[in-house]
Symmetry: C2
Subunit: 152 residues, 2 copies
């Protein structure tokens, strides 16, 4: 298909590989989440809420790597579908703490299992040491990027 005559260092760029891995992972997650009627962002939001109940819209947005606005429309959908609840009035300030409903928790269970199977598949062929190294390396990358981002 490709002329493959000039195959260069695109495949040796960690940045490109990172994007590729993330893209493939997202596609794989979408594939297993679709039968459940969920998107990746849906799942991320629910998982976040399960692990940290009472998160605000903005905090959820940061955790799912989208903007507050996007997360807000997502939360409205989830609320309408009965997966999450938000108080009509802010208990303090303007923050509306969000919580999972039993129904949301139930659909999250299936999604979590599906996603976990994808992650297991992704890690097949990697030793424990590899996974530990990956964790350390990715954290280092994130920290280095963040330091320069907000700092300078």
């Amino acid at each position: 298909m490709s002329q493959d005559g000039t195959g260069v260092d695109l495949e040796t760029s960690l940045g490109y590989l990172l994007k590729e891995a993330s893209s493939v992972l997202r596609a794989a997650m979408e594939e297993v989440l679709r039968p459940l009627g969920m998107t990746v962002t849906h799942y991320a939001c629910l998982e976040l809420l399960a692990q940290r109940p009472g998160l605000s819209n903005s905090e959820l947005a940061r955790g799912a790597f989208v903007t507050r606005q996007s997360m807000n429309v997502l939360l409205q959908n989830l609320e309408r579908e009965g997966h999450v609840t938000r108080p009509a009035e802010a208990p303090v300030g303007k923050v509306l703490p969000t919580r999972l409903t039993p129904r949301g928790r139930r659909s999250l269970e299936k999604a979590t299992a599906a996603v976990r199977s994808v992650e297991v598949r992704m890690l097949a062929g990697l030793t424990e040491a590899d996974q530990a190294a990956a964790l350390r390396i990715l954290r280092s990358m994130i920290r280095s990027l963040r330091d320069g981002d907000g700092g300078a």
Copy 2:
């Protein structure tokens, strides 16, 4: 800001970390590309063309992890701005081989420098061995995910 009382294993999930790293990397790239009037997908397309001249729209799309349709509108923009050229007639079949113009090559140079600086910053704190390990691990993840994707 967060109640940080339930800090769970979100930070130990390689999938989440992968998404986080990719997100931070993309943000950092957008930040340095914005002054140049380019987006990440713009840059990816140009870089792809520099390394593999004559790529088709579909091949470009696959390389930049977007759909053919999205890449097509991007190419139309780039063509209108004089960064790339596509023959009006397909030399063979329907494939329209795309090439960089001198102007496109020039703006790519600045972008490449900017992006490279981001990648260097990302890799700060990592040894050569770490980088080699990251390459190997990411490739393994991609392959494992792909095998299960299209195969099963």
